[in-house]
Amino acid sequence: MKQIIIIFSVIFLVITTGFASQSNRLVFTQLQYNGDWDPYYSEYPDILNFLTLTTSIEVLPERRVVKLNDDLLFSSPLLIMLNSGKFSGFSQSERDTLKKYINGGGILFIEDSTGSKYSDFDKKIRKELEYILPDKRLTKLPKEHALFRAFYLLRGLAGRYITNNYLEGIDLSGRTAVIYSENDMFGAWVRDRFGNYFLECVPGGENQRFEAQKLTINLLVFSVTGTYKNDFIHKKFIEEKLRR
């Protein structure tokens, strides 16, 4: 299976290299900030290839890296913020921008890639979210959340670690605008130069890796479908499948 995916990935890259405009495509937009913002700088093509091979979603093949003062931020409906250690917090102006972005319709996905519970980043980012959205707090996303059924039906949660058996989020005006993970979901995608997965997934090994990858795909699908899979019309089918 891996080989097939790699072959298709190469074909995809060749085909899509010519595209430059975002248009109505999904853009893998990652936030650059003062801290360890880019632990896995090379994994995004693999993720996007997997996404385009398995779903109908069109993506911009390039990763978009934005700072909070970058105009392109407001052309990016999904903003991914990763951290692998250092984080010195946001300036007031950055907080204001992030507030505008989240309130204006953007989705912010934050992941603590350290896999440590109560890490320094965890404490700081929670504080930052309190500054940005003082009336809101991160809460656990329920198992029925559309994120967990956006494409794959996920029965459990996984990343490279299983720090928490849940994701957290903040809902604004009927949509989940902030999603927070401490399980290092993106770390499950990292490969070495020979194409082998580089970082071990603990404790579940390769099964856990695949679950983490499915969750990543679900995140990206969720960012362009929203609560679609919670619509009444899907409910009966999904519940039946989950019972099997």
Binding site: M1, I4, I5, F8, A20, S21, Q22, S23, N24, R25, L26, L53, T54, T55, S56, I57, E58, D71, L73, F74, S75, P77, K100, Y101, N103, G104, G105, G106, R149, A150, F151, Y152, L153, S173, G174, R175, K214, V221, S223, V224, T225, G226, T227, Y228, K229, D231, I233, H234, F237, I238, K241, R244
Partner: protein
């Protein structure tokens, strides 16, 4: 109170002047002074006498009582030969009655009029109503009669309660009514029970109540109709006097419509006009039902779906194709949340339940959409009042294989060729039409043009061209096709429905882009609200609306309507209101009255039929000219229906009640007895005024006053006083 009475003040002043003048004369040392005072007193008394307007009455020298004979000539007297029975009665009894009574004859129905006795044999029952109350009130008001003879079937449909006039009737009423133990054979449609408004596509019930007389055990057929079209029919076997049947009814069209219930006439029915009744139902929408099918997930789908889903005015069913046939499946199907796309159900059955159908970037060839489905989409728009929107992308319009299909007719643009690219790149959209409700995205900004210019850039545009008959709303000013700007948005009204083409698919940038400026996405939401309201034919797209009290109107009754204006901008302008009558003749309604919520207007319809009120408000301020907002409202005016045709049985109870309350007698025409009548009227003959003479108008009195004053003056002159 006395001081405010001019008559009293005049008399007081005259007496005052008289007293002063008498005092002056009394001081004179002459014997003639008493004569002068007497002359002045006489003239004063004469004047005061005239001020009180004395009237001289001359009474008639009667030898027998005078009676008013009231003959009912309303339509109900035409049933079962009632008017014939009245004529027969007069033929037999007139000379006898006139032997004992002086008679004045009146015929009455809705109004009362005097007739001569020789006209009795030519009476016809044509009156549209029976107003016994007014007829008795009129003849008794003169106090000239010793009795009233009332010949009627007692079917009284006066607006006034007859009990209120009993006290003013000082003479006995002799009530005579036709002898009919059984009601005429008839079916009478009495009642149609339905809500004044129903929700579109939501089933409701219409219950019909009717009376049957003389048709026990017979089967009757009842029709629900719209115009001449039969919408439904029911059969009912009559098993009592009051019958009810119910129709299941679902309205598919927004607005006020007139329907009718008809009872199929049975042989020997007395009256057929009471078998039919019209009624109005206003259909409103509970929610605008939107079907949104998208060929692939995208930011446009995410934001538009969220907007529709979170707006309580809309109900959304959406499908987005998450996986194409060529996509790789890395897990078994049961691990995927995918459900089969129910294309057959949607395109052959469910589509018609929706108000608006959005098709975004969905390739018809890839998903093997057969021509049958496309025909259904065409029918959805043209025949089922549906609204259709196609949103662009690499799998939409020509690139989505819709060219030369049955859907081409309802797509309001000339589509791109499949080989033409979807033009990518950022551009600012340019408004091409400033009057269409869809483009009205702001209230606050002085210029619509400025509002649109301030919207963030879009990314990508389909190569669409203007289609004759459609309205282009916005273009891409940087993309020329055959010398014209590429069409970004176009609309058309086709058949009964509406359609729209959007060659753009990144309106989400208006939402997120505005957030960068710290502004809300109100223009994005207003734009999409406008689109969905307009496509669904909803009046909420308009910034003002005409409100008419929902009731049945009859000819010559004033109809009051209100223009409710929601926008402060529009409140500054005076609306222009035109009225189209049932013959489509247009008149302008003047004299609108300003009220806090807008304006109030009135008109009085002269005939039955559908009247359409159209109001327009023109505002200026946009750089590119003026903006016109408008609304239309229909009002149905129907013929006046009354109980004349609906309650056919002789109401002898009422005739007896009138007689009882006026110390008269009541009997059937056949049982009339002159002796009983003589006894009821009695021997006391009312004095009748023959002539009245107003003395105040008699010039002799004024001459006397003048003469008295002249004599007094001459005496004073002669005596040197």
């Amino acid at each position: 109170m006395l001081l405010t009475n001019p008559g009293f003040i005049t008399v007081f002043l005259m007496v005052l002047v008289f007293v002063i003048s008498c005092i002056v004369i009394a001081r004179k040392k002459t014997t003639i002074k008493y004569l002068l005072i007497a002359l002045r007193l006489l003239s004063l008394l004469t004047l005061i006498f005239l001020i009180f307007e004395p009237t001289l009455l001359f009474y008639e020298n009667k030898t027998k009582p005078r009676i008013a004979v009231l003959v009912d000539t309303s339509r109900s007297m035409g049933f079962s030969g009632r008017i014939g029975a009245v004529k027969k009665f007069f033929n037999k009894n007139l000379s006898l009655i006139q032997k004992y009574f002086i008679t004045d004859f009146y015929q009455f129905s809705k109004n009362t009029g005097s007739i001569k006795d020789i006209e009795l044999k030519n009476l016809e029952a044509r009156g549209t109503a029976t107003d016994i109350t007014a007829a008795l009130d009129n003849v008794c008001a003169s106090n000239n009669y010793d009795a009233v003879m009332l010949l009627s079937d007692g079917i009284n449909n006066s607006d006034k309660n007859i009990k209120n006039v009993y006290s003013s009737i000082k003479v006995p009423v002799i009530g005579l009514y036709p002898d009919e133990p059984d009601a005429p054979k008839d079916l009478v449609l009495i009642d149609i029970k339905t809500a004044g408004f129903v929700f579109k596509n939501v089933p409701t019930q219409i219950t019909v109540g009717f009376y049957s007389s003389g048709f026990q055990g017979r089967e009757v057929k009842i029709y629900l109709k719209k115009g001449k079209e039969i919408l439904a029919s029911k059969r009912k076997t009559i098993d009592g006097s009051y019958q009810e049947v119910s129709f299941d009814f679902t309205s598919a069209k927004i607005g006020l419509e007139t329907y009718s219930i008809e009872l199929e006439p049975l042989p020997e029915e007395t009256v057929l006009s009471n078998n039919h009744k019209e009624f109005n139902i206003e259909t409103i929408r509970e929610k605008i039902r939107v079907l949104y099918i998208c060929g692939q997930p995208s930011p446009e789908y995410y934001y538009l779906r969220h907007f529709i889903k979170s707006n309580p005015s809309f109900e959304l069913v959406s499908f987005v194709i998450l996986r194409n046939p060529e996509d790789v499946a890395v897990v078994p199907d049961e691990q995927l949340s995918l459900i089969p796309f129910p294309e057959r159900e949607i395109f052959t059955r469910d589509l018609y339940d929706f108000d608006v159908f959005i098709l975004e970037n969905f390739n018809s060839a890839k998903f093997y959409i057969p021509s049958e489905y496309m025909i259904n989409i065409n029918r959805f728009v043209k025949e089922k009042n549906g609204g259709f929107l196609m949103i662009g992308g690499n799998s939409a319009f020509g690139k989505g294989s819709y060219k030369n299909t049955r859907m081409e007719e309802v797509i309001p643009v000339i589509m791109d060729d499949p080989s033409e690219p979807f033009e990518e790149g950022l551009f600012k959209i340019k408004l091409a039409n400033y009057n269409h409700p869809i483009v009205n995205i702001t209230d606050d900004q002085p210029s619509l043009d400025q509002a649109w210019s301030a919207l963030p850039e879009l990314d990508g545009c389909q190569r669409l061209r203007a289609k004759p008959g459609s309205t282009v709303l916005a273009v891409n000013p940087y993309l020329k096709l055959d010398g014209q700007n590429a069409v970004c948005m176009a609309v058309q009204e086709i058949g009964k429905g509406r359609s729209m083409a959007m060659g753009i698919n990144t309106t989400w940038r208006w939402l997120l882009g505005k957030a960068q400026e710290g502004k809300s996405g109100s223009q994005y939401t207003k734009f999409w609200e406008n689109v969905l309201y307009w496509l669904s034919g909803s009046e909420q797209t308009r910034e003002f609306r005409i409100s008419v009290e929902q009731k049945k109107y009859i000819p010559d009754e004033e109809i009051k309507f209100k223009l409710i204006i929601l926008s402060e901008k529009l409140k500054k302008s005076v609306p222009v209101v035109t009225l189209a009558d049932p013959l489509s003749r247009l008149t302008q309604i003047e004299n609108l009255t300003k009220v806090p919520e807008g304006w109030v207007g009135r008109f009085t319809p002269s005939t039955t039929g559908k009247y359409e009120i159209k109001a327009q408000i023109k505002t200026t301020g946009a750089l590119k000219g003026s903006m016109i907002s408008e609304d239309k409202r229909s009002v149905i005016v129907m013929a006046d229906a009354n109980t004349e045709d609906y309650d056919l049985q002789v109401n002898d109870k009422l005739m007896k009640e009138i007689a009882l309350n006026t110390k008269g007698i009541a009997s059937t025409l056949d049982d009339f007895s002159i002796n009983d009548m003589n006894q009821a009227v009695g021997k006391n003959i009312h004095p009748v005024i023959k002539k009245q003479l107003s003395l105040a108008l008699f010039p002799g009195f004024y001459f006397v006053i003048f003469l008295l004053l002249a004599i007094e003056w001459i005496i004073r002159r002669l005596k040197g006083l």
